[in-house]
Amino acid sequence: MIEVKDLKKEFKKTIKDPGLSGSVKSLFHKKTETVKAVDGLTFDVAEGEILGFIGPNGAGKSTAIKMLTGILTPTSGTLKINGQIPYKNRKQYVKEIGVVFGQRTQLWWDLPLTETYSVLKEIYMIDESKFKDRMEFLNEVLDLQEFIKSPVRTLSLGQRMRADIAASMLHSPKVLFLDEPTIGLDVVVKDNIRKAIAKINKQDKTTIILTTHDLNDIETLCERIVMIDKGKMVYDGSLMKMKNTYGKIREVDVSLFDGNSADKIKLSEAFGLTCEDYDIEKKGTGLVLKFDSSKVNMTDMLNYILKTVGVRDIAVKEADIEEIIRMIYRSEVKLSE
């Protein structure tokens, strides 16, 4: 359904020296700097699959989505979606995709929500009976009833997001792109939206790419994730596999009698660990230590800590997925194979 090969996007940024003289100078002599927002993405997505795009802020997720939706022309690389090349014939291509940018809206701000849907009905040439069925389905999944007659500007963020997702689904697109569909929402609303997305995917076999930095979105929705950082792909595979590979990371929370004594813990000396294998975080008299349990086993680690510093309390945890991802970002370990 989606084939992406070595996709790249560079932006030219003009840089200007500070102050007035800088402004004047930049009028005559423009200094530019190239930003590699997306730097070589390669992946395929099968029909009906939900792919999660994760990465920290500025990783290049939105830029990638903008290329996939035909808004931006790639600097290089190839891209084929639903048999078409997005940026080649935009008007034709967008007929069969749906897009939600969580930080923007496609709804008519001052008009009742229903007006947006009637405009979309005409734009996509949806006939009356199909439109009715579709509205019914979306209503059931996204619960639009209570606010469908209200002007969009009066909707809460959660309502607006539901309305936006419905708007992107009205014409039963084959592929759906959701850029941070749960941003800024509370836990209950997030959960509703996830359920709705899952239902839509199941009923229509819609192929979905969603970006997020909320891992719960990923855990409930995606079997497969692509992780990007600084425009580059750092992981492509199942969530399970990532957990297994990085599940070896263990966490020890220690409470010390003397916060300063934490400096005595020197894991590289004691066990020959490199900085990719562990992470220490100090909080007052507390200490959070994460390490790769395949390199050092837990008993040895605990013995070492108890021997080296004065411990008031100690707890052992399994690292959650968020930790795993943080580790991957930091170490930039290539996991994809």
């Binding site: 940018f101 001052d110 941003i183």
Partner: protein, 275 residues
Amino acid sequence: MNRLRKIRRTYGAFTNAGIQDFIAYRANFLGFFLGEILMCFVMYFIWKAVYASSGKTDFMGFSMVDMMVYVFLTNIAGFITGTDSTYSIAEEIKDGSIIMRLIKPVKVDLSFLFFELGNKVMLMTCVFIPVMLGLELYRYFALGYVAFKISRLILFVISISISYLLAFYLNLIFGYLAFFLLNLWGFNILKESIIKFFSGAIIPLAFFPGPVRAVFSRLPFASLTYTPVMIYMEKYTGSELVINMLMQVMWLAIFILISKLIWIWAEKRLAVQGG
């Protein structure tokens, strides 16, 4: 035919939304409208003083009644041809929300145009008809006979429609400048004043000395409001009428072409900031 129907269906929806939008903002509009009418009366009294002090009843072929008609008609024409396209498109380019248009199977320029047409439909019914009625009643009582001609009204409507499209595309081109400049504000004010002056909205072009007038009336700005007003007032007849309307069409074609070229260029290089 089929294609035309498709276009009408797609963009008709935008026009519809434009009408709804106008209704949502009618209170704003009323204040603006009253201000403009007040301005007309101010202009009227200024010209009345000019006529009184000159002691003549006829000025470059404009009688006092003509002047009254001219002032109001020019204002109406300004209302009808007035367009927010510079502002609205520049805003969307700057804040990146233009991408919400790009993800729809529509042409960006037409989606703006047809939305605004919805506004104009309402404007025609709420402003044009009552003001024209008032103006014709005034003419009738001032002259003592009916000067109104249906053929002139029809020609006026055709001409002013071209004017509106012309204004729309001219402003669209200015709006596209947001691709290159970050702040259009000062620039826009300058543009407005230039258009007002050259289009004869402040002083009728007929009042300028011969060579200046000849140049001004060949510029696209004259096609905006001056041509339709002169047509309605029967100042343009015969070949002059035909030439001036052709000129409008020519400028329209030129502006559409320029705007398309800029768009094609810009769409490929579009860089949208933000999520």
